[in-house]
Symmetry: C2
Subunit: 170 residues, 2 copies
DNA sequence: GTACTTGAGTTCGATCATCAGACCAAACGG
DNA sequence: CCGTTTGGTCTGATGATCGAACTCAAGTAC
């Protein structure tokens, strides 16, 4: 790993995590994977990220075992079990951002499918369990601002849908 | 905020979070604050970070309301409520790193003081609650590697102690 | 089959961030 | 009052990220 991206001199699991997901854009790429985005061009359209950086990040995520690349020509990227295990951390960071920057009016809401709404701690208000991402549905919340983006991927993501399921054709 | 550190074109609370804690070193600085480190020179000794970057990061964290700077001459840095609210996210990221890079032999263990050990989900195994950081004690775990660092701050942090309480004089 | 379009990158020069180390001033200890 | 520690700032070199241009293979229209 090149200079400026590791924390070799730290005996700390947080440092180990940040060496993988601490680089610019990486967590937003993984967020898109959770939300159902699977293709290079969709990520690029949704993130306004340089292709070179997106390519580097995806290669690193595949090499580190968080994503798989499937299909020879135009590949799809899927989360592995290691990648899926990041969900609690990603959700916690998102909730912290909601409370700080949009208190009382979340930008996105998550529901335990067929049960209840997810609280700040990631647990379903109805059953009290912490569902895995595959059992969650995402919907726009009262704090969502549709005027920020209007690319097709952003529009598709506004429709309520289950996590980890691919977006409808555009 | 300068180019390369923000995500203006994302209507997403995760992006808002990452604009503050997503820069290199920032989460490790906050980790040290949770562990009881309060002074500039202690952070610098413990993190092997350039003074210029540490200075920039501390200024940003104070400006964003995650830390307070108290004392005119040689200031101490303390977590604010907003900073303390990051604990669940920081803990979740740490646990993900433990499971990936040191499964079965955590580098650090956390205990709900007077109650039980903390699980991967941040809840006490005995009482089932999710304690706030002030009610937690940290101890080295079986996966700790004391050979990586021997600066005085690292040595002091090896002693079991409560979070948020200052380190003993060195 | 051939032209055209799209998807998935790679390459490039310019700009920005980070690095280690030198320097500096205020606070503290005696 | 003088030397040391603390908490920085400044500087040149290096690495990361940027937008834009380019490549090349896969799919699509005809």
């Amino acid at each position: 790993m090149p200079l400026g991206t590791d924390y070799v001199r730290q005996d700390c699991s947080l440092a180990r995590s940040l060496e993988i997901v601490g680089e610019r854009w990486t967590l937003l790429i993984l967020r898109d994977c959770f939300f159902g985005v699977r293709r290079f061009s969709d990520m690029q359209a949704h993130l306004d990220i340089s292709k070179a950086v997106l390519s580097t990040r995806l290669d690193a995520l595949v090499a580190d075992g968080l994503l798989t690349r499937s299909g020879a020509g135009h590949p799809e990227y899927h989360l592995t079990d290691d990648g899926l295990a990041l969900w609690p951390a990603l959700y916690a960071l998102t909730q912290w951002g909601e409370q700080r920057t949009s208190p009382g009016a979340p930008r996105r809401l998550f529901f335990h499918v067929g049960c209840g709404q997810l609280g700040t701690d990631g647990r379903c208000a109805t059953c009290g369990n912490a569902p895995t991402p595959g059992d969650l549905e995402i919907r726009p919340g009262p704090g969502a601002d549709f005027s920020v983006r209007d690319d097709p991927v952003s529009v598709a993501l506004r429709e309520p849908h289950r996590l980890l399921t691919p977006l409808p054709e555009r």
